[in-house]
């Protein structure tokens, strides 16, 4: 694409790095910003760079946070003895939207998949084990996508926390096989959180 200004070209190049944004859309967004007030665009840019540089991850649960400890972990109204284990932050947002869960989270940052080079060490599993031991957590609920790698991850963690007296459950699989948690509608997700099941014990 031939553009009349290098500045414009740079901005378009930056926007088109975003997922799902092609060159044409990027140009449309940039031209839109060009029509806005200078200060407004300045604020837009600052908001984004501030978001990136100042955002933190909770030391306890690895969720996004404004401080060292996130608002869920520091909320005394929530059941701090209950941990919902999820793959990523999008899952936390999906579950929070159901307004059906009153415990805390633990964000693994992925699931075990040697094929993709992801072993337990690449994930926040060790911190979960320590957390359960230290806090004497009563119950953990796995809310991972129902697929093979999800199962591998559940069995692995289950085995590691076997010495501690923590109840282990998984969300009911009302969600389509292999379906993404993120895309499950809120009703289904809410129901599966209430009807959780004990994990099959076939892995000893």
């Amino acid at each position: 694409m031939q553009l009349p200004s290098t500045l414009l070209e740079n901005a378009v190049a930056q926007f088109s790095k975003l997922p799902g944004i092609g060159k044409k859309t990027a140009l449309r967004l940039v031209l839109h910003l060009l029509k806005q007030d200078v200060n407004e665009v300045k604020f837009f840019g600052e908001t984004i760079s501030k978001m990136r540089s100042e955002i933190k991850f909770c030391n306890r649960c690895h969720n996004i946070s404004d401080g060292d400890i996130c608002s869920t972990c520091s909320n005394s109204m929530r059941n701090q003895n209950l941990i919902c284990v999820v793959e990523n932050i999008r899952d936390v947002i999906a579950i929070e939207n159901t307004q059906q869960f009153n415990g805390t989270y633990h964000v693994l940052g992925g699931i075990i998949s040697p094929l993709d080079g992801i072993g337990p060490d690449q994930l926040n599993i060790e911190t979960l084990i320590q957390r359960i031991q230290k806090e004497e957590t009563q119950e953990i609920i796995f809310a991972l996508n129902p697929n093979i790698q999800g199962d591998t991850t559940i069995y692995y963690i289950q085995k590691k926390i076997a010495p501690f007296h923590c109840k282990v459950t998984t969300i009911a699989r009302g969600i389509a096989f292999g379906g993404e948690l993120e895309y499950a509608d809120e009703m289904t997700l809410a129901r599966s959180l209430t009807n959780r099941l004990p994990v099959q014990q076939y892995v000893q």
Partner: protein
């Protein structure tokens, strides 16, 4: 009853756009070498399996110099009409629609429109390596039982996971036994299921194959078929435990149903070393016809039969036995290709079935 009534090919192999209508249950297709006979049969196969019988990648199926392809088939199935449309978009995304609705998973489609192909290179099923024979069994079982197909997909994924794990463990010089045990348990659960299904299936399949062999060959050759599997000795979990050391050494899973095989024998000798060309072809046809019969029994209607170049393979008597039997005694839709118009027409005439002849023109 399953009948393909018409098919429209767009940018599939040598076809840019072409429509065929099938008016009789027996369809003879003739034309010189390279006119697209095999490609037409493969398009029909494609609609049943969401992929080609021959090509490993879809890129090979797209007409050279163009991008994207489309195959549309109009069927009658159990007295209802159905439209199957497969579209490969320019960006190589594939869609598969039934009556205007897209499948979420292509595996849901497998087995609903069953068909059996017999093609020239299929003798590999007898003389090739064990992978061919596993693929053969899996293709049948996957069409009969969706749980089998799902378990097989899971097994394959878990095997890849376990092999990757073994590789990384060796490279890093550290083996996380907890994780290896879990992967082994998961793999065993799937492996035991597949083994049991294969074993049950083969018990019925072997006598059927032998019976067809004798029908086609018209003689009493002593044929035996054995299902070979490491799981015949012990459960997969134990096999994996015994093999752990070796697995880590060679960074690969050495035991499991991915090592299964069928062993064919002729007069107590290994079939592929002993049998003549004609005997091999007879066994091949027997296996395929047993496949066709098994599917028919399970589905309650006859699968479409695709016979590519069969005249080149069997002598006249054997050919006649086979065709007579499929065309007359069963209500299957049959597609047969040949390079010789006269040979094809005469044979169908002699058998005395209503049929349609389609001529593919030279380029």
């Amino acid at each position: 009853m399953l009948t393909l009534q018409s098919i429209i090919l767009t940018q599939f192999r040598n076809y840019v756009t072409k429509q065929f209508s099938f008016t009789e249950k027996i369809v003879g297709i003739y034309g010189s070498n390279g006119t697209g006979k095999t490609n037409l049969l493969d398009a029909i196969y494609y609609l049943s399996f969401t992929k080609s019988y021959f090509a490993r990648t879809d890129a090979q199926n797209v007409h050279h110099g163009l991008s994207g392809l489309r195959i549309e088939g109009h069927y009658e199935i159990m007295n209802e009409e159905a439209d199957l449309i497969c579209i490969l978009r320019e960006n190589n995304k594939k869609e598969f629609n039934i009556n205007g609705e897209a499948y979420k998973k292509f595996s849901e489609h497998i087995g609903n429109y069953p068909c059996v192909m017999i093609a020239p290179d299929d003798v590999a099923l007898i003389s090739g390596n064990s992978e061919e024979r596993r693929k053969f069994i899996d293709t049948i079982l996957s069409q009969i039982d969706t749980k089998y197909l799902r378990t097989l997909i899971d097994y394959t994924k878990l095997l890849q996971q376990r092999n990757s794990f073994l590789k990384q463990a060796t490279e890093q010089g550290f083996c996380d036994d907890t994780l290896l045990n879990i992967l082994s348990e998961q793999l065993s659960e799937k492996g035991d299921f597949i083994f049991n299904e294969r074993k049950k299936f083969i018990q019925h399949f072997i006598p059927l194959t032998i019976q067809y062999y004798q029908t086609i060959s018209g003689n009493q050759d002593h044929i035996t078929v054995h299902y070979e599997s490491q799981l015949q000795q012990s459960e997969m979990k134990q096999l994996l435990a015994q093999s752990k050391h070796k697995d880590l050494q060679v960074q690969r899973t050495n035991v499991g149903i991915h090592k299964d095989d069928l062993l064919f024998q002729l007069n107590n000798a290994v079939f592929k070393n002993e049998a003549s060309q004609g005997q091999r072809k007879s066994l091949l046809f027997a296996l395929k016809m047993a496949e066709w019969r098994t599917l028919k029994k399970n589905k309650g209607f006859a699968p479409i039969l695709l016979l590519d170049d069969v005249f080149e393979k069997l002598d006249e008597k054997r050919m006649f036995n086979l065709l007579h039997w499929v065309c007359k005694e069963d209500d299957a839709q049959v597609f047969i290709t040949d390079t010789h118009q006269k040979r094809l027409a005469d044979t169908l005439q002699t058998i005395g079935v209503k049929h349609q002849l389609i001529h593919l023109e030279d380029k």
